[in-house]
């Protein structure tokens, strides 16, 4: 199924055009496509779902069924920096709960909430495969390991700073 007017950037649209051709079945492209679309748009809006369903050739219901199964996929916006703290056993033993509590306090938000300025969102997540380097967190896709509350503050500060940097860049 072809899409007349895409809502994605031309790079992503071209990537999607290719993605559906590399599998024996078109539908295999669905999950990666959703994830990449989310990376670009921030979340899976109704428009995103409509276009992806069209690209794959399935119903929107079917698309939503799949989206709601995978924990990385979301249909609501998250913060610009999505802070995901692992609290599973290995991390827990090394202080993950304290890290998570620290995040809540520092950011002033609870689990699955977003700061009013849209900068940060926070989520307690399951094991992210950093067990030997816990406690660990992911900010968007980046890993931060052997965390302490102080380390975490630095990470958050770095996020804030890079937004300021970007802002300056675009003004120049």
């Amino acid at each position: 199924m072809s899409v007349q007017e895409t809502i994605f950037t031309s790079e992503l649209a071209a990537r999607f055009d290719k993605l559906v051709t590399i599998y024996p079945l078109r539908r295999s492209a669905l999950v990666p496509m959703l994830l990449y679309a989310q990376d670009e748009k921030g979340y899976l809006s109704d428009e995103v779902i409509t276009e992806i369903a069209q690209r794959i050739g399935i119903t929107e219901l079917d698309t939503r069924n799949v989206i709601s199964y995978y924990s990385l996929l979301r249909t609501q916006p998250a913060g610009r920096y999505h802070v995901q703290v692992c609290t599973n056993i290995s991390c827990m033993l090394r202080g993950a709960n304290e890290i998570f509590d620290h995040c809540k306090k520092t950011l002033g938000i609870g689990n699955k909430q977003t700061t009013p300025d849209g900068m940060f969102s926070l989520e307690e997540v399951e094991c992210i495969g950093a067990c030997s380097w816990g406690p660990a967190a992911q900010v968007n896709y980046d890993y931060y390991e052997n965390l302490t509350p102080e380390e975490l503050d630095k990470v958050l500060e770095k996020c804030r700073a890079s937004v300021v940097q970007e802002g300056k860049g675009s003004q120049a």
Binding site: T59, E60, L61, D62, R64, N65, S68, Y69
Partner: protein, 789 residues
């Protein structure tokens, strides 16, 4: 396939290789419980209720996914298994609300039944159950999430069964939920299959919910009054002030030709019977020109006197009779007998929606070539030309889909429109709307008959190689085109045919001689043979067809018109003035466009309020049982007899009652059943039942079976509620004279949500149409808003 022998609970069982253990056990009476397993739908192994112990396998196994194997030793009711089942129930009941006292499914809930059997009465959780508000998904479908046990039956019956795919599963784990296709509502065919298949009360119907408790209803299985497929629907009934009301329709016992399938009309569109505009008093046109209520005495007297007057002064040929395609065979037969014998006219017709006459002529002399509806579910290959079964024959469409899905049947579709069944088609051919006749020529080998392409040549090639092809055709084919089609098909080995028409007893109307030129069984009026012996004097020249009757009326040549259960004024766009010089008697449920012009209107019962038989479009004959009742109305059968009586005819000559054996019968028909009923069935089947009343349709069925050989079916099987095949029609039609014959077919083009005039009085159909319009209007508004911003 070869059989295997294995042991279940110490009992030796033999079953074909590949049979699922659960089915093999159920067949011999070993009940293995299951929520998710449903015959004919894909396997889930999700509810874990059917766990059994199979020797040499370490873990308990699901009987629903285990094929039987030679020498297998199975235990299904040990303590270990009982405990496993009990534990599953305890887990389900952890969140399932115990609102059974107000749940629609209470009393017919599979979860209740299993809890009853396996215990699980103890509750050991202190946490709250999860509660969510109930949601309305459509006028038909309501969803109560906490009750849902996630067996996925609804998802599968909607997707695999209906090919609608309107239900999905969302989220995961304990938050898993059944979701409708439009986020907060459903857009679907509103068949209600999801509701009936739900083992608990998670899905309930807008038509039935909170109306009664299941055990407070009586149940009568009868035939749906809507389309030509003739599904069996089991009506749930309760007594009300003015009779017996229908509150539910389903076919959960899977008896009948349709198994548990029903469309929205079969399940819910019985509600016209309770419409506020239902006529319950006869109406007579007063000198002031207005229709006003009258007594039965007055109305019948008046109608009978005037009809007799017209007959006696202007002759039978100046009277017309229009019958119905929703009345019973007995009523149709009686109506034509009344027309010909009492009124002395062949001016009799009905709204024809398929050319059965040509079909009968084309098939004459060929054995076993007429298909049953059942054949669509078993034929290895099907050619569907014209029609849109999804809209017009939902049960046929179900059979075709199921046949393709489960038996890998090869479905070939030729149509001018993009019909939904193309999704199941192995091969298809798009033809122009006027290309149906050409298609047959083309299939038969005439390349010039259709603008052929490579794909059409391939299509022809595969069709011509098929053996045991079932050919289904719609009203696109009439007259000589049917001959051509049948001739082509007869050239293929074992091909069978079915001609698709639009209404519940369209076939019966044609079979029973509601035709100006044909007597019952397609016997030409010019050679009445056994009918002459039976009826005495008969008019032997062909009468006026429906259109000609109205033409004659507008010329002032039709003195009287008797319309039974039909609304020709609306259907044929008759100018109301056309009938100003015609004495019009109408029998109907409602004051239709036709009835409003009448001099006498007689309030009639509908198909659910009477007994008799109907024939579906495939020629399957089925029993109609009286289910509901409405004070003030009478069956068309009774009204015809009474009218004849008022005209001075001898009712005994019309209906041969008062003969047979005397016996202690008790209640023989209606909503009661029991021993005396079965006794009566046997007597009736053996023609021993005394027909004590002139209003007994079985007296006429005796006569039909005596005079119309097609209808000589096994009466006991018929009365037991089975569908019985009528054999192909008679051979009497004269080829020479039929060349000039007009087929008179006017397709109804109903959709899933319409049903002629009757459909307009169904509030559920109304609501569905309305909600779809609102929803699509809403969607359009949103879209335009997007554009503007």
């Amino acid at each position: 396939m070869a059989d295997v022998t294995f042991t279940v609970d110490g009992k030796q069982i033999t079953a074909p290789t590949g049979t699922l253990l659960i089915d093999a056990c159920r067949k011999v009476g070993i009940e293995i419980p299951a929520f998710c397993y449903y015959p004919g739908l894909s396997l889930q192994a999700a509810c874990r209720m059917c766990l059994v112990r199979i020797e040499k396998i370490p873990k308990l196994q699901t009987a629903c996914t285990t094929p039987v194997a030679e020498g297998m030793i199975v235990a299904t009711e040990t303590d270990e298994i009982k405990q496993a089942r009990k534990a599953m129930l305890e887990l389900v009941l952890g969140n399932h609300p115990l609102d059974c006292p107000v749940c629609d499914a209470g009393g017919e809930c599979e979860l209740q039944d299993m809890t009853f059997k396996y215990g699980a009465a103890e509750s050991f959780h202190t946490e709250m159950k999860q509660h969510r508000e109930e949601q309305q998904w459509s006028p038909v479908v309501y969803f109560d999430r906490p009750r849902c046990i996630l067996c996925y039956r609804c998802v599968r019956v909607c997707g695999e069964g209906m090919d609608v795919w309107a239900l999905g599963v969302q989220n995961r784990g304990v938050t898993s939920i059944i979701a409708p296709n439009k986020e907060d509502h459903l857009e679907c065919e509103e068949c209600g299959a999801c509701i009936d298949i739900c083992p608990v009360g998670a899905l309930t119907s807008g038509a039935y919910r909170y109306k009664t408790r299941p055990w407070e209803m009586n149940h009568v299985a009868t035939i749906c009054t809507h389309c030509g497929d003739g599904c069996k629907t089991t009506l749930g009934l309760r007594s009300v002030d003015d009779g017996v009301e229908i509150i539910r329709g389903d076919n959960r016992d899977k008896s009948g030709i349709n198994g548990d399938f029903l469309c929205i009309k079969g399940r819910y569109s019985f509600d016209f019977a309770n419409h506020k505009d239902r006529l319950t008093k006869p109406l007579v046109r007063r000198p002031d020109g207005n229709l006003a209520p009258a007594t039965w005495e007055e109305a019948l007297d008046y109608a009978g006197k005037r009809l007799a007057e017209v007959r006696d002064t202007r002759g039978g040929a100046s009277i017309g009779v229009i019958g119905s395609n929703r009345t019973t065979n007995e009523e149709n037969y009686l109506l034509q007998k009344f027309a010909r014998k009492v009124l002395g006219t062949n001016n009799i017709d009905h709204h024809r929606t398929a050319d059965y006459t040509s079909f009968a002529r084309a098939l004459a002399g060929h054995q076993d070539r007429a298909a049953s509806l059942r054949d669509a579910g078993t034929a290895p290959a099907i050619l569907l030309i014209g029609n849109d079964p999804t809209q017009q024959h939902p049960m046929l469409a179900w059979n075709l889909r199921t046949n393709v899905r489960l038996n890998r049947a090869r479905l070939y579709v030729a149509n001018h429109a993009e019909i939904k069944l193309l999704r199941q088609a192995r091969a298809s051919l798009a033809i122009p709307q006027d290309g149906y006749a050409g298609l047959i020529g083309y299939l038969a080998g005439d390349d010039s008959a259709l603008a052929g392409t490579e794909s059409s040549a391939a299509f022809r090639e595969v069709i011509r190689k098929e053996e045991n092809l079932l050919i289904l055709f719609g009203s696109e084919y009439r007259g000589r085109d049917i001959d051509a089609l049948v001739n082509f098909g007869l050239g293929l080995p074992n091909a069978k045919f079915a001609c698709l028409s639009d209404y519940n007893n369209s076939r019966g109307a044609a079979d029973m001689g509601l035709m100006p030129d044909l007597l019952p069984g397609y016997q030409p009026v010019a050679s009445p043979a056994q009918f002459a012996d039976e009826y005495g004097n008969l008019p032997q020249t062909g009468g006026l067809d429906l259109i000609a009757m109205f033409d004659a009326a507008s010329r002032g040549e039709l003195g009287a018109l008797y319309v039974v259960g039909s609304n020709p004024v609306s259907r044929y766009n008759i100018a109301p003035g056309a009938l100003k010089d015609t004495f019009l008697v109408v029998q109907d449920m409602f004051l239709t466009e036709t009835a409003v012009l009448a001099d006498v209107v007689l309030p009639a019962a509908n198909l659910y309020e009477k007994t008799g038989t109907v024939t579906n479009t495939y020629g399957d004959l089925q029993l109609v049982k009286k289910a509901a009742d409405k004070a003030g109305v009478r069956s068309d059968f009774e009204l015809i007899v009474r009218l004849a009586d008022r005209m001075g005819a001898n009712p005994k000559e019309l209906v041969s009652y008062g003969i047979g054996m005397r016996a202690d019968l008790g209640q023989s028909r209606g909503v009661q059943s029991g021993e005396s009923d079965r006794h009566a069935v046997w007597l009736a089947a053996n023609h021993l039942e005394p027909k004590l009343s002139p209003f007994d349709p079985f007296a006429i069925l005796d006569e039909i079976q005596r005079l119309v050989p097609d209808y000589q079916v096994d009466r006991l099987a018929l009365l037991a509620g089975n569908d019985e095949r009528t054999v192909p029609p008679l051979v009497h039609i004269d080829n020479a004279s039929s060349k000039t014959r007009s087929d008179g077919v006017l397709p109804a083009q109903d959709t899933l949500f319409t049903s002629g005039t009757l459909g307009r009085y169904s509030s559920i159909l109304d609501e569905v149409m309305e909600s779809r319009e609102t929803k699509s209007a809403g969607a359009a508004a949103t879209t335009s808003l997007d554009v503007s911003t």
